[in-house]
Symmetry: C2
Amino acid sequence: MSDAKQPLSSLSAAQLRDYLAAQQRAYTVLQERGLALDLTRGKPSTAQLDLSDELLHLPVTVKDGDGVDCRNYGGLTGIRQIREMFADLLWVEPEQVVAGGNSSLTMMHDCLVQMLLHGAVDSARAWARDERVKFICPVPGYDRHFTMLASYGIEMIPVDMLADGPDADAIEALVATDAAIKGMWIVPTYANPSGSVISMEVASRLAAMPTAAPDFKIFWDNAYAFHHLTEQEAKGVDILSVCSGAGHPNRPIMFASTSKITYAGAGVAFLAASAENVAWYLRHQQFASIGPDKLNQLRHVQYFKTPQGVRDLMVKHREILAPKFAAVDAALTAELDGLEVATWSKPTGGYFVNLDVLDGTAGRVVALAKAAGIVLTPAGASFPGGHDPRDRNIRLAPSFPVLADVETAMAGVATCVALASAEKLAARHTAAASTPEGE
Amino acid sequence: MSDAKQPLSSLSAAQLRDYLAAQQRAYTVLQERGLALDLTRGKPSTAQLDLSDELLHLPVTVKDGDGVDCRNYGGLTGIRQIREMFADLLWVEPEQVVAGGNSSLTMMHDCLVQMLLHGAVDSARAWARDERVKFICPVPGYDRHFTMLASYGIEMIPVDMLADGPDADAIEALVATDAAIKGMWIVPTYANPSGSVISMEVASRLAAMPTAAPDFKIFWDNAYAFHHLTEQEAKGVDILSVCSGAGHPNRPIMFASTSKITYAGAGVAFLAASAENVAWYLRHQQFASIGPDKLNQLRHVQYFKTPQGVRDLMVKHREILAPKFAAVDAALTAELDGLEVATWSKPTGGYFVNLDVLDGTAGRVVALAKAAGIVLTPAGASFPGGHDPRDRNIRLAPSFPVLADVETAMAGVATCVALASAEKLAARHTAAASTPEGE
């Protein structure tokens, strides 16, 4: 208890000066180590990829369970067995699932493009014909969701991501009156980067809320549905049923993939939606594809064998990932606990730790880290346009480096946070001291 | 010589009646065989797919020549070695090549969509903002090219496909004055379905011709670049250099794939274009993809080893395919030679035989064949909107069935052609006979 640190803001000017000097010395030592570490992206590590080595020797046969030669053309929906397997895992029906190529981002993009050029299944016309199209973007969120919208000039309306999902009050109010709001992004389980898991209550409100746009869509990016970090596994909301029950069966389109189950670049992506949405997707996709890589789908079927095979594999991922997330927490706690200069998430799943530092210091922390050889995701990356209005949010991605490197990098990051915080508070003291009395 | 058949149109009414009756008997016999054969699509046969069995046991290592772990995210251009390999084969530079997923159709679609939503690299604005967008479509041509355009409401202007490529006179006249014509399709080598190979002269005219649209694009679908049926191998035109030399470096975008080299559904697709076009493509693609399946690219590199490995494999394909094309020619010749009711191509490469029958009988031939258990591509499929104004064109795809089935099916098709021709000519006789004299 005697070691408990004092809030940095409660230090006297002299104490703070000493603390700042100590952090500057620590940072110099850090720089002298000449590190080259990278915590930027949510990439599986080599050890995780190695778990699926067996895939390299599959498939052992080239015909799927229906006798289809997976080497040849065709089969826009993907092969039946992998649709059934992931329908089971995602709590949907096989007919609601399309198995695609190696990138769920591509399936999201395909949907968005077809909505722009043709309109959604329930649109009066192509979205591109409207003067303005807007999307609700929970923040902090996934940068690739935002850059995709930005590339098509779609306006982004940030809404806070809370512990139980996006701020439903704010969303309800926005969509009720603005017909230009055509959709929203959501990472429902172990959100990127907050780690939030949407509650059934919030999901139900999103499913049921009246929207001024009759063709409002929820892009439900279920990227981390099975990516638990503890034995307390979050059970994902069955959004297709919930929306259907609320009278809006065509509102959600779910996306998922095995990118963080087998191979990040060579997995299988999925789309799940109402029968009508699936038909809409396939109707447009038929002009854009000769069918997905069925051989890779078959390879995955033969590897997993059953849905339980996927769950078993995820336990092995957890065993590799959980110590890295513990290391992040330990490093931040050791350096920053009690200082009241930072808060961070303790996610129970997913790929990220969300670190919030003092307002106005996130960019400085990332710059300091970079100068010390620790590359972090650019500050603000989790906000539309890369702009965090409070400049306080940092996304930490500890999955890729080996554990020892995570420990080293995070100790360094903690030093950078401490230094940037001390700099900021010291500047306040200086500003206060230099203000002439009586003014 | 004594067996040489007489032109059907030169038969007397009685002779034609006999001929028709004989064909009807032959057709009845054909129907009674209860065949179930399919000549619809240009799909590789099982024997062809089996040539690449070795792929099923690759890759033996997961890192590419640059040390990149192909299992993980990234690398939007595709891996260096496969780009180098296909740059060599396609006579372009590696920097001009992007290696993608399993479908070149998808890369064509990606380009078209980005031109619609953003404009090409040299467009003043997005094509979708124009009231009308038109494409020149050589006919007969590839149905998927046309259905893709139709799905976006792009107007198609048919231009005849000649022996040395599309009718350059007609194209030059069209593009010179109509700024709404934004592009054209072309299968330059062993065209689908005519088998034509574009000449350097025609290609040079397409490269050099003034176009009213400053952003006119040639979608150069090099699907059959290496797909020779004889030892007289057509040498493809290096369209990127030709256009560059003509002052239009950004005019062509070339597409190719290993779909008919390794696996139709699990190969690797390629795009090749000017540096500026490649940068344009990647700039948009970055929002739509986490990168192609690099592991499948690496698998192909390890399988082919060198560009010569691709050429060697194509010889094995030829050995399987050439007898089937010979069987098509033999069956048509045996039944129809001298009758002057049909002409057909004798392609030296590619996947199709182009059969032209008497005007107004193509639909009837396809219907007769279908009723006898022989499925052909729908008549008119090789024309925009599926509409062949003369109803005479039939696309024969003999690659997929085994040789014996091609022989059986084509003998049946020849019977159907003979029958439909006799029906048509007999109807003329009847019509002429029933016309009262003096009117």
